[in-house]
Amino acid sequence: MTGKVLNIEAPGLMSTIQDVGRFGYQRFGISTSGASDQGALRLGNLLLGNDAGAAAVEITFGGFAAVFTAATAFALSGGDLSPTLNGTPVATGVVYMAVANDRLTMAAPVSGFRSYLHLPGGVVCEQVLGSAATYQPAHIGGIDGRALIAGDELAAGEPSRVMMAGTTLDFPVTPPAQTPQPVRVLLGPQDDHFTARGIRTFLDEIFTVTDRSNRQGVRLDGPEVEAEGDSYDIVSDAVVTGSIQIPGDRKPIILMSDRQTTGGYPKIAVVVTVDLPLIAQAAPSAQIQFVAISREDAVALLGEQEVAINNISVVAPDLRELVLTVDLEAHHVGVPGHRGEQQASRFQIELDGNRHTVAIENIE
């Protein structure tokens, strides 16, 4: 089953189609872009059985509304922007079945800042330089290289397996937030541009995320980070996602997915890969405390995370006595007593006093 399944009614503060990112073109000045919270993207895709880097809708802050135009499974990952389906709260990290005219909304953050809406097989759109990621400054990726607008129709891809409502992962899909949030960094490459006092300020003080933050960079407010000779310029060099540069106003900027490929400010440190999702989910006014760790520790953390993710199991819902007949040869999914070959339909089933919703979708 592929085709248009979702109609955007209100994109909210900003919604874009994002995937794992666009790699191999930074030397040409083309940014990687991709999901701000790569951890959430990967877990959401795992939940739906999609390719780890498949495209999803990155929804920022809230004010989002969309109407399903066909029966489909969907799942949310990342921040909790108080999502509802037809007015009923839905959980992040759980597979749901929607049918035509179901309405998904996200009002405002309960925790985190960015939510990811995943569809079976990933959101389908034109690949530019090997990626679906929207990169607005260059007008490429997503839909015509722009953020989503009301009226955009999104298509789902080819699902890798039969979807079951209530499926979860045995792993938390929303990283726990703390105040202040410790964020681990590796000092360098230009930490030698800063005075000992500047480094101490950077590591000992608390910084606050400002509302002048976006997909290019998270701008922090806080005490001034002092550079050697009061010089905040370097000969421009390449940056990575997570590079923390200190420009002339002496306040840190953490470079994120839509960053430019090169920069002319000294970079005091780089956020370790496993902590990048914390930055992606830090809303304005969130507090951050940087903690320097060694290169060996940063790589060890990455290795441990990889092992943990590889050990995640997809947990099917406990359906007790409900028997679903699945005939993959005939592309037919049925529930005893009903035939749902032609049209999507939805049933309420009561088991042990619990009501379950079962949606039957066409599989073509």
């Binding site: 590796l186 360098g188 490929t261």
Partner: protein, 245 residues
């Protein structure tokens, strides 16, 4: 002063190899020789090598190739690159056709006036230069060019234009450059090239290689129109010759 080249951490998945601390042709050439040498190793786990003015960033997966392994490979690539003879450097010089002045170069007169020369002198001086592409950045395909003649240096416009067309050739202080896509900009526009600096559907998406050279050639409106037609037919190739510059 640190000893160059030196290797610096840029997070847990990248290293920066610095060859100096200045905008300098010899340093920049070392960066490109090194990048080519490391690239030719085609090491597993290396995602991308990004050469810039005076350093190259090596982006890799530390779970596939360890920091120690990659640092050894970097040391070997530095040795090989340093041993390269000048004649073995294979930098290309691209010649870009430009229609100078008129509607496509609305600031040509301003540049001439600022430097107390005639507009045709600006064109003569601009087309006589060979410009090193120190790096690409800022926008897809935006070339940071070096080597412009100070006789045509001109301050940026007091009020930037809201939209500058792709292909606009400009001057800002003692830099010259080409806008790869429609964007706002405050450079003095002296002409326009029909050559596309960024085409996401082409392979590679940017025709100008960083580390190469660019020269500009003044063309008449009719010739530019012909080239524009060839570009839209897909039959145009930017004239390029191999040299060390």
């Amino acid at each position: 002063m640190p000893d160059y080249p030196r290797i610096l951490n840029a997070g847990d998945s990248a290293l920066v190899v610095e060859f100096g601390d200045a905008v300098d042709a010899a340093i920049n050439q070392s960066v490109y020789n090194f990048s080519a040498a490391l690239e030719s190793d085609a090491l597993p786990g290396v995602r991308e090598i990004i050469p810039t003015y005076r350093s190259a960033l090596v982006n890799f997966d530390p779970l596939v190739i360890t920091h120690v392994e990659i640092e050894e490979a970097i040391d070997r690539a530095i040795s090989r690159a340093t041993a390269l003879d000048t004649d073995e450097r294979r930098s290309l010089t691209f010649t870009l056709p430009v229609l100078y002045g008129g509607d496509d170069g609305p600031d040509l007169a301003r540049v001439a006036e600022h430097n107390s020369i005639r507009p045709e002198d600006v064109v003569r001086i601009h087309t006589s230069g060979v410009y090193r592409v120190f790096m690409l950045g800022f926008l897809p395909g935006f070339p940071y060019l070096g080597g412009m003649d100070e006789r045509i240096a001109t301050p940026r416009l007091a009020t930037p234009r809201i939209s500058v067309p792709a292909g606009a050739v400009g001057i800002a202080e003692s830099q010259t450059g080409v806008y790869p896509m429609d964007s706002p900009g405050g450079w003095n526009l002296i002409g326009l090239t029909p050559v596309q600096f960024f085409d996401p559907n082409a392979a590679p998406p940017v025709p100008i290689q960083p580390g190469s050279f660019i020269r500009f050639e003044s063309k008449a409106a009719a010739e530019i129109e012909e080239i524009r037609q060839q570009i839209s037919d897909g039959t145009y190739e930017i004239p390029a010759e191999g040299s060390s510059g």
